[in-house]
Amino acid sequence: MIDTGLNIAAIRKDFPILQRKVNGYPLVYLDNAATSQTPRQVIDVIVDYYSNYNANIHRGVHALSQQATDAYEQARIKVQKHFNAALPREIIFTSGTTHSINLVASGFTGFLKEGDQVLVSAMEHHSNIVPWQMLCERSGATLKVIPMTPEGELDMEGFASQLNTRTKMVFCNHVSNALGTINPIETIIRKAHEVGAVVLVDGAQAAPHIKADMQKLDVDFYTVSAHKMCGPTGVGILYGKEEWLLKMPPYQGGGEMIEEVRFEKTTYAGLPHKFEAGTPNIAGGIAFGAAIDYMNGIGMEAIAHYEAELLAYATQKLLAIQGLRIYGTGREKTAVISFNIEGIHPYDIGTLLDQMGIAVRTGHHCAQPIMDYFKIPGTVRASFSFYNTVEEVDRLAAAVEKARQMLS
């Protein structure tokens, strides 16, 4: 047993989905890096919203609209406090990390020119690569890559050597989705700022495990998806320093984001509404706030501590399996194990694990450059959350061993 003071059995009761069976077995959910499960406390908030105060926000004069607006804006403040942003208006609600990144990529089109360089890490999710490639196509800037080591860590010397006065932007994830590596973003932000570059950190994978402090990090942009931290899908945030959000033009035009519309000229609303055109995912935003409350109720430090123990145990159990290799062996990792067994296709392992009620992800994890680096078609990825147990790790290890025997 891992003793961290958390009552995991009690926590598991908060998650209705963890009680179900899959293919005749009690579900072992180890695909948390793709989507985390949702506790009753968050589901209740969504049900309550649609049952009691569903209304459009920011414009109605009636009670329901007021109540919905208050709850939505309260959620924004919860997010602001959790990530220690200086101002609530620095938190832009989006549909998730992908939307957040595209918003910034669009906003910076006019700020870059030919000869400028942007620097992207070698271990990014496609959503933190492709929008920047598109930005480069629009602006004429050049995309450069921060190299990676065989352990799946960023090569910081390589990073430093790429930085120069032409570097205008740097993009990096806080935690790699495919490998679990925690990147030294403090150093990256500081060094990038020394040459005057703007830094966007994709925090999608870090947010469920690490409480990032926007002001302490001094990061320019940080992106989060609610569905990776016990919240609903289709909602997330872009944190942006006020000075950049003021400089950037709006992303989408429409309702909500305007001050005054005339056919001659429209003036835009102030922050954060300038970037929130259209009716947002109101229930989702409110539920995101509830998810943050839920995680803080357990305690982010306790979560990180428990997950680290779980990771150590699972790593040792899996490495005992013949021919198993783990990708991403850096010193600082979240509870993600990406692996392959020699001579066996990851899809085959994933398929058999599913038959035994174990949910993992297989494939390239939307990070094809990493797979190309290791010269593999993909990996099996088991990603853990605070509601996973030692017994589930044992079931995973036994199932992987059974799959190995069947497929060898």
Partner: protein, 152 residues
């Protein structure tokens, strides 16, 4: 009026008969782990594609693991060979090849694929694999259409 395959001396079965046979075989097992074990076995009997055909032209698009299929006309029948880099996928394509190989292109075009549902295979595949299965069937039928045009 039985006809015989000249190279096996076994009675030539229709696509429908082969499909029914496969459905019966899968019904013998109690659970899906056993069925997967059987699929892995079937994969080992797959008539393998010549290495020289393992190229972009023979890849089935829409599969997440790599699948190559080749077809050639022997007398008036279409003979399929295939391979995959994933073992279970190899089993799936082996089931399809068994059902459709050594058949007349016209019969392949006409054949329905309800046997896949009767086996229960689709529900037990991940969505990406189920899509891959659809792509494989489509590819076999496309070959049949192409060769049918040649025969006409």
């Amino acid at each position: 009026m039985p006809t015989y395959r000249n190279f096996t001396e076994k009675p030539l079965m229709s696509i429908q008969e082969i499909q029914a046979e496969i459905v019966d075989e899968f019904a013998l097992f109690d659970d899906w782990m056993q069925r997967y074990e059987y699929m892995i076995e079937l994969g080992k009997s797959l008539p393998l594609i010549d290495e020289k055909y393992k190229d972009e032209d023979h890849i089935v698009k829409g599969c997440q693991s790599k699948v190559w299929v080749h077809a050639e006309l022997k007398d008036d029948k279409l003979v399929f060979t295939a391979d995959s880099d994933a073992i279970i996928t190899k089993g799936i394509i082996a089931i399809l090849v068994r059902a459709f190989s050594n058949q007349k292109p016209a019969d392949i075009i006409e054949a329905d694929t309800r046997f896949i549902d009767d086996i229960g295979l689709k529900e037990h595949l991940s969505p990406t694999r189920a899509n891959g299965l659809v792509s494989m069937i489509k590819q076999l039928k496309l070959y049949a259409v192409a060769y049918q045009t040649q025969l006409n």
